[in-house]
C-alpha cells in the first residue's frame, strides 16, 4: 500500500483536483450560463496555500502540523470566496457569451499577475514545501522531486 501511494499518490491527487475543478465549471453550466472564472479561484486558493506554507508558517522545525494545513485550506477558501463576490456582483449583469468572455478576461488578469508578482515567486513559483507526513525514501509523495 505504501509503495502504491508513493508511486501513484501524486497522480490520484491531481485527478481528484482536476475533477473538482471540472465540477466547479459544470455547476454554472447547469444553470444555463458558461462561467469560466473558477480556474482563477482555484489558482488563488493554491497560491495562498503555497505562500502560507513556505513563507508564513515556518516557525516549527520537523513535521509540518496538519492543523496548519487545514488552516491554509480555510484561508484559501475564504479568500477565494471574497474574490468571487467581488467579481460576481458586477458580472451578474452579463449573460451568455459576454459572461464567458468577462470571466476569461478575469482569469487572464490573474494569470499575468501570478506570473509577475514577487509574492508568487514569479514564473518559477514556490518550492521546498514542508511535509505533514514523515519524509523518507520509501513514502515520498512526489517521485519527481524526491529523485534529486
Amino acid at each position: 500500500m505504501a509503495a502504491f501511494i508513493a508511486t501513484y499518490g501524486f497522480l490520484i491527487v491531481s485527478m481528484v483536483l482536476a475533477a473538482i475543478l471540472a465540477l466547479s465549471l459544470y455547476l454554472p453550466l447547469m444553470a444555463g450560463q458558461l462561467s469560466l472564472a473558477s480556474p482563477g479561484f482555484y489558482a488563488l486558493g493554491g497560491y495562498i496555500g503555497a505562500i502560507l506554507a513556505t513563507r508564513v508558517f515556518t516557525g516549527e522545525s520537523g513535521l509540518y502540523p496538519v492543523k496548519w494545513v487545514l488552516l491554509e485550506m480555510a484561508v484559501g477558501g475564504l479568500a477565494s470566496g471574497v474574490l468571487a463576490v467581488l467579481v460576481g456582483v458586477p458580472a451578474l449583469r452579463l449573460r451568455g457569451i459576454f459572461l464567458a468572455f468577462a470571466t476569461i478576461a478575469f482569469v487572464e488578469i490573474l494569470r499575468v499577475l501570478s506570473l509577475n508578482l514577487d509574492v508568487t515567486g514569479e514564473p518559477s513559483g514556490s518550492s521546498a514545501f514542508p511535509s505533514p507526513s514523515r519524509p523518507s525514501s520509501a513514502t515520498c509523495g512526489l517521485p519527481r522531486r524526491c529523485s534529486s
Partner: protein, 85 residues
C-alpha cells in the same frame, strides 16, 4: 513573431488569439467598425503602459475588456440586444 524572439513554439498563437477575442468583444460582437476601433484601443492602451510596469502589459487588454463589459455589456459600438421573452 518567432523571429522577434529568435525561438518558435506551438503556443505562440494563444496570447494573440485571446487578445483577438478581447478585441472583437470590446468593439461589439458582429460589428466590423467596432472590431477596428477595439483593436486600435487595445493596441494603444498596451503601447502606453509605462516601462516599469512592462511585465503587466499582457493583462491590460483583458482589464480593459472586463471594465468595458461591465459598463457597456454590448461592447463599444455594439447594439443593445433586446431580449424577447
Amino acid at each position: 513573431m518567432g523571429l522577434s524572439v529568435s525561438i518558435a513554439g506551438p503556443y505562440f498563437g494563444i496570447s494573440f488569439g485571446l487578445k483577438g477575442l478581447a478585441v472583437i468583444v470590446l468593439g461589439g460582437l458582429g460589428d466590423i467598425p467596432g472590431a477596428v476601433l477595439g483593436g486600435l484601443v487595445i493596441g494603444l492602451a498596451e503601447a502606453f503602459v509605462p516601462s516599469q510596469y512592462i511585465a503587466y502589459r499582457e493583462a491590460v487588454p483583458f482589464a480593459l475588456l472586463f471594465i468595458v463589459l461591465l459598463v457597456r455589456p454590448q461592447g463599444l459600438l455594439g447594439r443593445a440586444v433586446v431580449q424577447k421573452v
